[in-house]
Amino acid sequence: MLVPVRMSRIRRAARDGFFAGLAASTLALALAGCGALGSQPMGLRVRAKTRFESEWHRYAALPEAKAIAVAGDPHGTYVSGIAEGEPSVAAAAAHALARCRERRADRRIEAPCRMYGVGREIVDTRQDD
């Protein structure tokens, strides 16, 4: 008779422990959820880096001969065209301009495409606003 009594106690203790754990974790989740909701402003913080900065960073790692052309304002609405691994700088520039023109028509950007970078050099002489 002793053994069944012990087993039932163990079972009861295990059950109580499980429900206590369940209640504690539920409470912790609820508090964490509500606390964070109250303290954190809604929404996601936007990226600090602009799209053009990311694009230029990626461009820098591309193999020669390469070129990048842009239309519009690189700090606002713009499109770009990138060519890489071309046989010559002239071919890269022509290819980049062609790609830029294609995207310029897509996004209905009025400003013309201009060379921004050839190889590792920035050739854009336009003063950005």
């Binding site: 964070a36 909701l37 936007v46 799209r51 990311s54 606002g76």
Partner: protein, 324 residues
């Protein structure tokens, strides 16, 4: 019963957050008023309707790295002003968004594929759903479409999942944990112009395998458009994860556009911090002429240095004319 932190205190706080957000976006809403209004029909049976495409980043909280539940209500409230709305990644928050999209017909994309790995993980994580609200990975397509019931034509829906995916770990995009695909909804304007609207989300990830997967998914989508919408006016929108400036991506997207004769609507990110991954493409059909009246970024979804998602919301106002 599943215990959830959405108790009364939570509801009050969420309500406060929602009210605050609504107040802050009110001015932006007023600016975008021209883009989102009700369907208008001219005497020549031409009709204008607005369309919104938005990746809402509706993952579970730990992966989303914020509190998606709070912003989902605001997203739904703001999006309900558009005639046709296409969401991507509404995985965990479809219901929250739907609740705010009153008077709209809702359609969902494909569910999770029956991959043994996904089924096993789903079963293993099932107990966690009792304790953690909005936690149900692995996922289906995460696509949904909402439309003005007056615009929906029958049979409205077709949905398919993509046959390929690339990556199980975060560094390679982890796209195989979802079952990405496309969702097609057929619209008919009061003037009788029919348009097939496709919502899609392609693989992310910068690896060569991801690029290959995107290319195959675009091929599958193009084949589906050819079989489901031959000669039809078509709109294809969503998160393509294709960056024109990324080697290979631009070419893949252009090949898809050439095969399907789709043009870019001009909708794209106007704010400088967004990456260009989302597009709204369109074409006219034999019986319907489709043109763009206005397009751009729906900036009411951004407030200062905070946004309601990690993607821009794109809008287009289309004009559809029956040609026969």
């Amino acid at each position: 019963m599943a215990p959830r932190p959405s108790n009364r205190t939570c509801t009050v706080l969420r309500g406060c957050a929602l009210a605050g957000a609504l107040f802050l976006v009110a001015s932006a809403v007023a600016r975008a008023e021209g883009a989102a209004s009700t369907v208008t029909v001219s005497p020549a049976n031409a009709a204008s309707f607005s369309l919104l495409s938005y990746n809402v980043h509706g993952l579970f909280r730990l992966a989303a790295k914020d509190i998606p539940g709070a912003r989902s209500h605001t997203i739904g409230w703001l999006a309900s002003r558009y005639d046709v709305v296409l969401f991507q990644e509404d995985f965990e928050y479809h219901r929250a968004i739907k609740k705010e999209m009153r008077g709209r017909r809702a359609f969902r994309g494909n569910g999770m594929r029956l991959d043994p790995r996904l089924v096993a993980v789903k079963a293993l994580l099932l107990p966690a759903r009792l304790f953690v609200p909005h936690f149900s990975p692995p996922y289906g397509a995460g696509l949904s479409a909402f439309a003005d019931p007056a615009l929906v034509a029958e049979p409205a829906v077709a949905r398919r999942r993509y046959k390929t995916c690339a990556g199980w770990v975060r560094s390679s995009g982890a796209d195989c944990w979802a079952s990405k695909g496309f969702l097609r909804v057929r619209l008919r304007t009061p003037g009788g112009a029919e348009v097939d609207v496709y919502n899609t989300h392609l693989d992310a990830g910068p690896s060569k395998a991801s690029l290959k997967a995107r290319r195959r998914q675009l091929e599958q989508l193009a084949a589906a458009i050819e079989s489901l919408s031959p000669g039809q006016a078509v709109i294809v929108a969503g998160d393509f994860n294709c960056d024109f400036s990324r080697p290979g991506d631009g070419d893949a997207l252009m090949a898809f556009r050439q095969r399907t004769a789709l043009e870019d609507s001009g909708a794209g990110p106007d704010l400088p911090f967004w990456r260009e991954r989302d597009y709204v493409l369109y074409r006219s059909g034999a019986a319907t002429g489709l043109s763009v009246e206005a397009s751009g970024e729906a900036v009411e979804f951004v407030n200062g240095d905070r946004a309601l998602s990690d993607h821009p919301a794109l809008f287009v106002r289309f004009r559809a004319v029956p040609l026969s």
